[in-house]
Amino acid sequence: MVTNPNAGPDVSVARGVVARFEKQYAVYRRKKQVTMALFGGVFALCVIAALITTKFSLWTLVEGIPRASEFLARMLPPIRLGTFGQDFSAWYWGAGEWFNSLLNTLLMAYLATILGTLIGGAISFFAARNLAHNYLVYWIARRVLEIARTVPDIVWALLFVFAFGIGPVAGVLAITTHTLGAQGKLFAEVNENISPLPLDGIRASGGNWFHEMRFGVLPQVLPNYLSYTFWRFELNVRSATIVGFVGAGGIGHDLFTAVQLLYFADVGAILLIIVATIMAIDMLSEKIRHSAIGKASFSH
């Protein structure tokens, strides 16, 4: 082997560095492998425990397939091209009532979005760390929003049905409660991200707290508020389709009854109405969101 005598020490130093690196890298890899194996093991155990807890059996699932497909087949009654009008109107025999329920569903979602956003928006000013002056008020506001949001809307619906009876009022209140919790939290986060400089400017001109909120905060947060509100409306339409399961109004009530009574064709018809509505609302809302918020001017 030919070696340059001058290069000797350099090479050995370099070798030392490489060796040290290799060693460290090996340790690092080993550590990572152990962590991954540990996570994997725990995860596998969790899955096994879950399978046992739920008595999950593929067999039941496979058995269910023919039943489900029969279910599906009966949901779509035969519609022949020749007698399309008759067949279709026979399928949608309950159209009048269903579309009335659908209208109620949409109006419930609208009203709950408006009410929940107004209340949640008002609370959000107290639940933002940078705007609330009193810690107790801040703490209470946060807890109220948390409870309203964490308890599922269907549970609120069950509770409201006790007090307000069967019907859309309970549904509106349930969705409103959930909405105010969710909107309040999101709005509070938006509020916490605003620039404090305009507020100083308004205070320095002799403005009071209301002026600071109206002119300093609102113009900064309104675009986000609006986009969250449209998005919340989309979610609330979905919620409004299910609160009827427990008697809180809307098309969910018709769907629940049809399923209970095994009127498969009705189930199919109602599901089709729901899916068409939701897709239409999603598309419409997205369009409005993009056009309205882009050019919105809040100056005058």
Binding site: L51, T54, F56, L61, M108, L158, T241, L255, D282, H300
Partner: protein, 296 residues
Amino acid sequence: MTSQLIEITEADIAEERARNPGAFAAPLRERMKAWMAWVAATALTLFCLHRFGFLSGDFLHGVAKFGDTVISQMFPPTGYESLGMFLKAIGETVAMALLGTLLGAVVALPLSFLAAKNMTRSRPIQFGTRRGADLLRSFDYLIWALIFVRAVGLGPLAGIMAIAIVEIGTFIKLYSEAIENLDRKQIDGVTSLGGNGMHRIWFGVLPQVLPMMLSNTLYMFEHNVRSASILGIVGAGGIGFLLGDRLRAYELREACLIIILVVLTVYAIDYLSKFLREQLIGDHKRREPIDDAVQV
């Protein structure tokens, strides 16, 4: 030079108004538009309030009743002797969420490649998969649960299936968006080394999107624990079954205990999931798009 407001005369005002009309009032069209939007929204709100009976005395009666016979009947919570049963049901709820999410993720993973524009050349297949995913997502968990209870019977299996079906839709959307946003160069690198389609996915795509997918999946698991807690109301297993049962039997104090347990579980799972996301992928901050994609 006018330096005091008091010196401004009517003539000055008229002069300035003529020169800068926009500074005195927005154009009539714009004002009308804004005004009509406000009127329409308010009118629709009032119409809803009237239609649903919020404006009648019955509503106030209901408010009083809610305070007297619902809230006051919930406290203090009781039913500690059934705590073991409740906790078991909560375990079942978490298990349903875990299996449902896992099943959804496993089915959605291959389909998400079909739904990604940069992976599937056939537009109809790509578009069809996306729309199919939207279709699955547009029904609430509870609707699927109601249907699956009829198909596979009462119990957690119906709940697992309901969650899995909705998640297939959600994960196809989330995963395919992640795939569409990936860095083309790394895939080209694998191709240039002579890799085939499978290699490209395995070495080029997965390493890039896996952290994002894991994070999304954990986040949806967290979300699904909330969903799973109510599926029992229509008979699809979990704590919701007991909750619905107690509520329908007007056992509000026990129902209250269950609600508290559910809320605590949700918090615990939130923390666990956040911890895992930080540990596994160093995902410290929550991703906004995910928050947008699901109901919080």
